[in-house]
């Protein structure tokens, strides 16, 4: 490339020649980087999937690389007969559903109201919201407030403390500002529509892309969140799936391990089954979500666009 660059680009012919060499080099470089990135993302996930259906001893000995060795579904059998997993799944469904519904309702209504340029006090209110992005009381005062409200160890603790994210309100506001011209509202108000009526009959139906994006964002956040559960919940019966997974994956607290027999061989076998259970748990918790990525990505591209436009 360097020798070609040194040749002065005087003739169109020389220019074309230089471009013929520079661009393939760029493409080769780009392909190498992207290929590496693709493998780095795909292979660990693929490995965990094949390991979850392989003979634990073979995985342990490092014989599993590209396809399952000694096919078995023991890990899944063990996982799906675990009561805490099912209870966690149920709790997660409940928390995620309620929290998402509440968050989306709050974000869309607040975003709409703050998009109204004729709202008295709009600047002050927006400022009060945005300040919390950059300064907050910290986890201890928040924990104490949640405690004072009597929310510890209740479903409310999983829904209320994280209900509104300022950033999403900003995105919603930008959406309404750019896609709902004042003229529509003026026309509706001329016809006697109140603010409520305009919001519910016109603004909400016109904001389907925004609502879809917000639902997706909050579903994933709530489904994947574990920290609120960790600090606000003590009762294991209320644990969401992520906290159950944490106990299995990170703390290696495997609920059935108490009924292991004493002799060493079966202890080792049980240990390996416990490892297998981890692979199954990861697949169980993530692969359904990953299969939805192509469908979900559309929403996020819209959201990224909204954010970028705003910026």
């Amino acid at each position: 490339m360097t020798t070609q660059l040194m040749r002065p680009p005087v003739t169109p012919r020389g220019t074309a020649f230089r471009r013929r060499l520079a661009d393939p080099l760029f493409n080769a470089f780009a392909m190498t980087i992207l290929g590496f990135a693709l493998i780095a993302v795909i292979y660990p996930i693929y490995f965990i999937v094949i390991a979850s259906v392989s003979e634990p001893a073979r995985v342990y000995e490092g014989q599993v690389w590209f396809w399952p060795v000694g096919f078995t579904l023991d890990g899944y059998a063990r996982l799906l007969t675990d009561a805490t997993v099912w209870r966690g799944l149920g709790n997660s469904l409940l928390y995620t559903g309620l929290a998402t519904a509440l968050s989306v309702a709050l974000v869309v209504s607040a975003g709409y109201v703050l998009s109204r340029r004729d709202l008295p006090g709009r600047k002050t209110i927006t400022f009060l919201l945005v300040v919390t992005l950059f300064f907050d009381g910290g986890i201890i005062p928040r924990y104490l407030v949640v405690g004072d409200l009597g929310l510890l160890d209740t479903v409310g603790a999983m829904i209320l403390p994280g209900a509104v994210a300022v950033w999403n309100v900003v995105i919603a506001r930008a959406f309404f500002e750019s896609s709902l011209p004042d003229e529509i509202r003026e026309a509706a108000q001329m016809d006697g529509a109140s603010d409520f009526r305009f919001f519910f009959r016109i603004a909400v139906p016109l904001s389907k892309p925004l609502i879809a994006l917000m639902i997706v964002i909050h579903l994933i956040w709530n489904w994947n969140g574990f920290f609120d559960a960790l600090i606000y919940l003590n009762n294991p019966d209320l644990y969401p799936l992520q906290l159950v997974l944490r106990n299995i994956l990170v703390q290696s607290d495997l609920s059935g391990s108490s009924n292991l027999s004493g002799d060493l061989a079966s202890y080792e076998a049980a240990q390996r089954l416990a490892e297998l259970l981890k692979y199954s748990a990861i697949v169980f918790a993530s692969v359904p979500l990953l299969l939805m990525v192509p469908f979900l990505q559309r929403f996020f591209t819209q959201g990224a666009l909204l954010g970028a436009v705003k910026n």
Binding site: A40, V130, I139, I140, V145, V250, A304, V309
Partner: protein, 335 residues
């Protein structure tokens, strides 16, 4: 956010359209009359305030009440006394933290981890976006985007679970690979020196795709005519990336950079907590995990609040500094 400052005063900007053409005489009115019209406009907008009320209540209760409660950092918190009745302790808790043997470790761990994270997690998505934008079109582009993006959907708990499994010293995939090449197994999760590299690499793995999509969206907004013109002039892809794409997304980069700096000390705390083991605690104990341990596990609420407040103030100072620098440098800032 930016336009809250750029805009004119709301009193004039908010001359609501439904008052018709009366905005001109309105500006000539005397101050009391204008105040009166403001009251009328507030009353007229009551339905808007009703729509906003639940969100405002949320912010008062879950954001501003804890901010008010941060005063327990200067008190000796007692459950009976709560935020306002517990006895004052002055700056005792801060002094205790600053003079504790943990202080130096915790602060340097936090800063090191944050800076390493920023140095790698921030630029890599930009590089990926520039490459994908130039290279991939159509189906291949969608495939690359979907794949790189997928880890965003995996929860932090599971990502850390994957780390523990793949990096396991005896039978993990990585150590099996090292063994294949004749190396000695490395106890990644149980050694302090490996904590930061593993943390940063897994953050890149998990987050790069998401941020890449943001930059791709910004790149899509660049006028294709610029590229066409450059192509006619014989510019190579590399030149076009350097002279068109990169300047085109520079405003987005600088805003995201400021935001990343502002959240420098908050990001990834959950992951540090999950990755923490007794053996790597020398590197993994950051301000926030320490706050968690002292406050929620040992119930020293006031002391932990003081540490948390120190963290918030440090964060705010970093944000303000970088915002100022960015404003000087390129006239683009958050406000």
């Amino acid at each position: 956010m930016a336009d809250t400052v750029v805009q004119a005063q709301p009193v004039t900007a908010a001359d609501s359209p439904h008052q018709g053409s009366s905005s001109d005489p309105q500006q000539r009115r005397s101050a009391p009359a204008r105040r009166k019209s403001r009251t009328i406009r507030v009353l007229r907008a009551w339905q808007l305030y009703v729509l906003l009320a639940p969100t405002l209540v949320y912010f008062l209760v879950f954001k501003y009440w804890p901010m008010y409660g941060v005063q327990i950092a200067f008190r000796d918190y007692t459950p009976a006394g709560g935020f306002t009745e517990s006895p004052w302790a002055g700056v005792d808790h801060f002094v205790r933290f600053f003079s504790s043997y943990q202080f130096g470790t915790v602060v340097s761990n936090t800063l090191l981890l944050a800076i390493m994270n920023l140095a790698f997690v921030f630029p890599i998505p930009i590089l990926l976006a520039l490459l994908v934008n130039q290279l991939a079109q159509g189906r291949f582009r969608r495939f690359v985007q979907n794949v790189l993006y997928a880890p965003t959907f995996i929860s932090t708990v599971v990502v850390v679970g994957i780390l523990f499994i793949l990096l396991s010293p005896r039978a993990g995939l990585i150590n099996n690979a090292i063994g294949l090449f004749g190396g000695e197994p490395i106890f990644f999760m149980g050694s302090a020196e490996w904590f930061r590299p593993v943390y940063v690499a897994s953050s890149v793995w998990q987050e790069a795709g998401f941020n890449m999509v943001v930059y791709l969206a910004a790149l899509a907004g660049i006028d294709p005519a610029l590229h066409d013109a450059a192509k006619v002039d014989g510019a190579s892809k590399l030149r076009r990336v350097w002279h068109i794409d990169l300047p085109g997304i520079a405003p987005v980069i600088s805003v995201l950079f400021i935001l990343a700096v502002g959240n420098l000390l908050n990001l990834g705390f959950e992951k540090a907590l999950l990755m923490q083991t007794d053996l790597n605690v020398a590197a993994s104990q950051v301000i926030q995990t320490y706050t968690y341990e002292v406050g929620l596990q040992q119930a020293q609420f006031s002391y932990a609040s003081a540490i948390g407040l120190f963290n918030s103030v440090l964060n705010l100072a970093l944000l303000l500094t970088f915002n100022q620098v960015a404003r000087r440098a390129r006239q683009s800032s958050l406000w």
